[in-house]
Structures are given as C-alpha cells and as structure tokens.
C-alpha cells in the first residue's frame, strides 16, 4: 500500500514537472494508473491528499489556465525553474564545511535531513572532500521528547499548545506561535509569540510535559520581520559584567575567579589581591563562597555581606537565607 502511494506520488511529481502546460485533473487521472483505477470519489480524495503531501515535501504546485480566453478548466504544473536546485557555486572549502556540517547531528531524523541536502548538492556536481579541513567536531544532540514536534512546528509555522511546568510547580497549558528554536548549554528552547501572555516568550523543551498538539494550519502566522532567535532568548545569556569587585585569593587558588582578573597584586603571605568585573552579585557571592577560606571579598560591601550570609548558613546548616 505504502509502495503504491510512493509510486503514485513519484509519477505525479514527474508528470507535473515535465509538462510545459497546465495539466487538467482529467489529464492527470488518465496518466497515472492508480488514479485511473480508482472510483471518481476515491480519485478526488487521493488527489487532494497527494497535493497536500507535495506541499509538505516543499514542492510548490502551481494552478492556472493554459488559455484564459477559452475559459479552460484550471490545471496544475510544477515550474521547473522554481523547483530545481540552482547552482550554489561553492568553493572546495565551502563544500567541505557543508560536508562536515552533516556530521554534526546526533539525531537520526535531522542527520537524514542534512544528508539529503548534501546529496542534492553532490547531484549537481559539488565535490565534497571533508579531508581538506581539520576542524572542531561539535555535536548537536537532543534528548527532549518534545524536540521533534517543536522542530516540526517551527519549520512549518504551526501554532501549538503544550503543558509546561517548572520543577515543583503545577503544569500549565501554554499556547504558542513558535518562531524558532535555539540551543544554549546543550539545552533546547523554543521561542515565539505566547498567545496567553500576548508577548514573546521562551520555553525550555525539557519542561514540556506530554504531547505537543498543533492548533492550526501550517503557515497560519507570520514571524515578525527581523526576528533573531538570540534576541528572543536574550534572557538566557549573562549580561555584560560592569560592577567592580576586589578579592583576596590564596596563591594558585580560586581559578574560575582568577580567569576574570583585570589586575593581580601580590600581597605576600601567599595572598593576591585580584580585581574583577561582575554582573550578578548573587553569582559572584556564590562562587566566592564555594572556595571557602581561599577567597575573601574585600569590596563591595554588599557582596561581602552576601558571602558572609552564605557562609553563616553553611555553618548552621539552615535553609533560610534569602537569595
């Protein structure tokens, strides 16, 4: 059955691609065995489904009339110049990086999508020799169960609904027009227009619970012009460090803080005075506290106080200190 459908789709694509004229529905039915052997109603159903299938494959079927003066029945065709892959004129190195890119995905579906794209390039004569480059081998993987549904929704622009919960909170049903997905620190996020809040929002895929349901037709909304996922997701990234702090760090200790050093002054007694910039008092106090006696905050006072608060809580074992 599946084979018969595949065969029918291939023949439909070939027929529409080869014809210079618009093919009427009758002509299409006549030229493809499976259509011809169906009842008129079954043919109508199959033809509609197949047209939808071609849309899903990214193939645009054009509708039109061969001669508008004769009030012809409308027909169908695939415009060859629009359907065929144009020459990309890739250099040897560019072809090699595209070849390397197909090895990045550790996700069966997307590895296969990018491989198909590469094969299409090879079919127009692009010579792909990845050995001309020796680069980093980054990997992209996903273990979020909702990833496939989100990817699908994003690339087809389909509105979606899903249950979403932060740890320890009750799940809430959210409605989203997804604009894109982004990976940060090996975690995937989906961003878009949140229909419940009426503004752009970002959601972590690992917090999506259960199935993602579609709530509309593909392409039923527009992504605002100039949308960049990095901006939609900017709340994820740390702000620029602007505040100044002075720390006293034992020699050869406090490595993560020393990396931020703008100035290091040896003080004797195996101590260095280290000047750094930071963006979050909370983050800095946490990092300093993690080193115990090896790092002490000299200034500013509010970071000092935050560290003392943490250390006091560590001594008493209490769970009450405010963040």
């Amino acid at each position: 059955m599946a084979e018969r459908k595949t065969e029918r789709l291939m023949n439909l694509i070939f027929a529409l691609l080869v014809s210079r004229q618009y093919l009427t529905k009758d002509q299409i039915r006549e030229s493809i065995a499976d259509y011809r052997e169906s009842t008129p109603q079954a043919f109508d159903r199959k033809f509609e489904r197949d047209k939808e299938e071609l849309r899903e494959l990214g193939i645009t079927v054009e509708m039109g009339q061969n001669d508008k003066y004769f009030n012809d029945e409308p027909g169908y065709r695939i415009r060859r110049d629009e359907a065929e892959l144009p020459d990309l004129e890739l250099t040897r190195e560019e072809a090699a990086v595209i070849g390397l890119a197909t090895q990045v995905w550790e996700h069966a579906g997307l590895a296969s999508e990018s491989t198909t794209a590469l094969v299409k390039l090879k079919a127009i004569g692009v010579d792909v020799d990845t050995s001309v480059l020796r680069m980093a081998e980054p990997r992209l993987s996903t273990d979020e169960p909702s990833f496939d549904a989100m990817w699908d929704a994003v690339t087809r622009r389909v509105p979606i609904a899903f249950a979403y919960a932060r740890p320890g909170r009750e799940p809430m049903l959210r409605h989203l027009q997804p604009w894109g997905i982004i990976s940060w620190h090996d975690r995937w996020y989906v961003g878009g227009f949140d229909l419940d809040r009426g503004e752009s929002r970002i959601f972590r895929l690992s917090r999506v619970i259960g199935e993602v349901t579609t709530e509309g037709a593909p392409g039923s909304y527009e992504i605002p012009e100039g949308t960049v996922m990095k901006d939609v997701a900017r709340e994820l990234f740390p702000p620029e460090p602007e505040e100044a702090a002075v720390l006293r760090i034992r020699r050869d200790r406090g490595q993560s803080l020393r990396r931020l050093a703008e100035k290091v002054t040896p003080l004797g007694d195996d101590l260095d005075e280290v000047e750094i910039r930071y963006s979050s008092r909370w983050e800095l106090a946490s990092e300093v506290a993690s080193y115990g006696p090896d790092v002490v905050v000299v200034s500013p006072p509010d970071v000092r106080a935050a560290v003392v608060q943490r250390l006091t809580a560590a001594v008493t074992g209490s769970l009450e200190v405010g963040a």
């Binding site: 070939f14 890119a101 990045v104 980093a136 320890g168 620190h185 490595q255 002490v296 000299v298 209490s318």
Partner: protein, 324 residues
C-alpha cells in the same frame, strides 16, 4: 517525517545523482545517502515503475545485469530529471543549524569559509530556515582557541597551563592534540598528555595559556574514551551526598545528576546528589549554602562547616583590622 515521505525525497535525489555518477556501486550510493544497500535496491526497484508515462522509454530503467552481477548502477531513460529539487526548508534548517554549530566552535580563517558557505546556502533555502534555528556556545578566548586550532591543524605540540576546577589548581603540561569537540555546549580538546602519559580532555575555557611549540606532535597508541553517554556517568563508585533542597535550589535537579528521595510539604526536597569527586560536592554545597544543606555523609557535612568557619574568620579579621 514519515517513511514513505523520506523515500520520495530520497528517490527524487537519487535520479539526478545516479545520472551524474554513472556506474556507481550500490554500496557507495548507500553510504552517500546514509541508508542500507537494501534500501537503495528497493528504491531502484520502485523507480522502475515511475517515469513520464507508462510505455517503454517513458519509464526509468536500469541495467539489471550490471546491477546483479557487479553491484553497480547504470540508470536509463531518466533524462527528464537531471537536477535535484531545491533544498527544502526542513533540510535547509537542519544543515544551517549544523553549520552555525560548526561556526561557534571554529576559529580564524575557518570562520570566513563557514560564513560564505552559510550565505550561499541561506540564499538558496530562504528566510524561514535561516531565522528559525540557532545554536549558542560559550565564548572562548580567541587567542587560546586559535593556538589550539593551529596546533591541531599543523600537527604541533602544545604547551598548556590548565586550571583544574575540582582540585582548584593550575598545572603546566605539554600535550599532543588529537581533536576538538563539543560536549554539553562547551568546547573540549582531546590530547595526549605527556605528563600523565594518557589521553586527557581539556575544557577550552579552562585553558589559561596555550603556546604552539616548534615540535611535531607524535602519534600515540590510545583508545579514545567512549563519550556516547556524556562525560559524567553515575556508577556504583560515584560519590554522592544526601542533601535537602530549598525551593530556590530545585533547579539543581535539572542541571546535575540527582535522585529525588522525598518531597516535603514545606517545599523542601531531599535528594541524592552525585558528583565527580568530594571536593566538587563540597564546593557545590558551599556555593548554594542557605538553599542546600548536607544530611549525609557526616564527613562532608563537617568539612563544609569547617571550611565555612575558617572563611568567616577571615571576614572577622578584616573587620577588626579596619577598626584598629
């Protein structure tokens, strides 16, 4: 994507590919398309029922003798489709995000090549694909990144100063680089460490200094560690602490290896928290003091208290010092 849709996409690419590569072995086609030789043979069989009509010469044909005897493919009567269809939005998005990932871990001249490849690809695929997906990696000092790439591509030895986080110390060592890769959104160098006489991983943002030496890197016999499960896997020997987590610290359960033991009505969760070693666990508790507290083992609990006490003394001293 459904299996039959995948097959249609593959067959549409096969037709022009086979014409451009007349006489290609089935096994090579399978490798190029990332499927089994049997899948390709099934595709070919089905392709023989397709074409521009139903008569001889209108249907795609193959040299079956060559296919059966030599396992090579000669396609015939397919001249009506010599070019593949455009790269679809889905294919383009998968490839573009992969290129952006490469870009995030590339350096120097490589960036120029990746950017021009991306630009050409984006112009061929269209906007939807290029805006909808992205990958962001942490920034790495370009000098260090550049030195590592230079040593790797030039086959040179590297002198590294490296900050070890759990033991909180800096060490100098010479290494022979093997590969650069990402794990959990961070860049790592895998290299043979001449000091340890073994393969080691170095996180690029923890390399304090890297000098390319005028010595060629040597080949070393070593099996790379299997990272398919990630760097950190919990085994029977993995140290763990039983901790209480204030609601403020519940996020830890999303970031670290944690087994939840119980959830109290006051919002405090009790959990087993696994770490690479005890000093890592101690630092994690101190970092989150007030939101995380150790229940057991007693040794860790006492060590945390001792460290915090010692640290607090430094603050008292500083205060006294100022007043006097």
């Amino acid at each position: 994507m459904s299996r039959s849709r995948q097959q249609v996409v593959r067959m549409l690419a096969l037709v022009p590919y086979l014409q451009g590569n007349d006489g290609v072995p089935v096994n090579e086609v399978a490798a190029e398309f990332g499927v089994s030789p049997k899948t390709i043979r099934d595709d070919l069989k089905l392709l023989m029922y397709t074409g521009t009509g139903e008569y001889a010469g209108e249907l795609i044909d193959f040299d079956l003798t060559a296919l059966e005897r030599d396992g090579v493919v000669h396609i015939r009567d397919a001249e009506f489709m010599t070019r593949p269809l455009r790269i679809s939005t889905r294919e383009g998005a998968a490839l573009i995000v992969a290129l952006r990932t490469l870009r995030a871990s590339a350096s120097g001249l490589e960036l120029t090549v990746i950017d021009s490849a991306l630009a050409k690809l984006e112009s061929a695929v269209g906007d939807t694909a290029s805006t909808s997906v992205d990958v962001v990696l942490d920034d790495v000092d370009p000098t260090i990144h550049g030195a590592v790439v230079e040593a790797l591509t030039g086959g040179k030895r590297l002198a590294l100063t490296y900050a070890t986080v759990s033991r909180d110390e800096q060490t100098d060592r010479d290494v022979d680089p093997r590969r650069l890769f990402t794990e959990q959104g961070k860049l790592y160098l895998e290299a043979w460490c001449l000091k340890a006489e073994d393969l080691r991983f170095f996180r690029l943002d923890r390399i304090v200094a890297a000098d390319v030496l005028a010595i060629d890197a040597e080949p070393h016999d070593a099996t790379p560690r299997d990272l398919s499960e990630g760097f950190f896997t919990v085994g029977e020997q993995t140290p763990f602490a039983v901790v209480d987590l204030h609601p403020r610290a519940h996020w830890l359960t999303e970031y670290y290896q944690v087994d939840l033991v119980s959830q109290g009505e006051d919002g405090v969760w009790r959990a087993k928290l696994y770490g690479a070693d005890w000093s890592w666990l101690r630092r994690l508790v101190l970092r989150n003091a007030g939101s995380v507290t150790v229940i057991e083992p007693a040794a860790l609990r006492e060590r945390v208290v001792d460290d915090a006490r010692l640290a607090l003394e430094a603050y008292d001293e500083a205060v006294v010092h100022k007043e006097s």
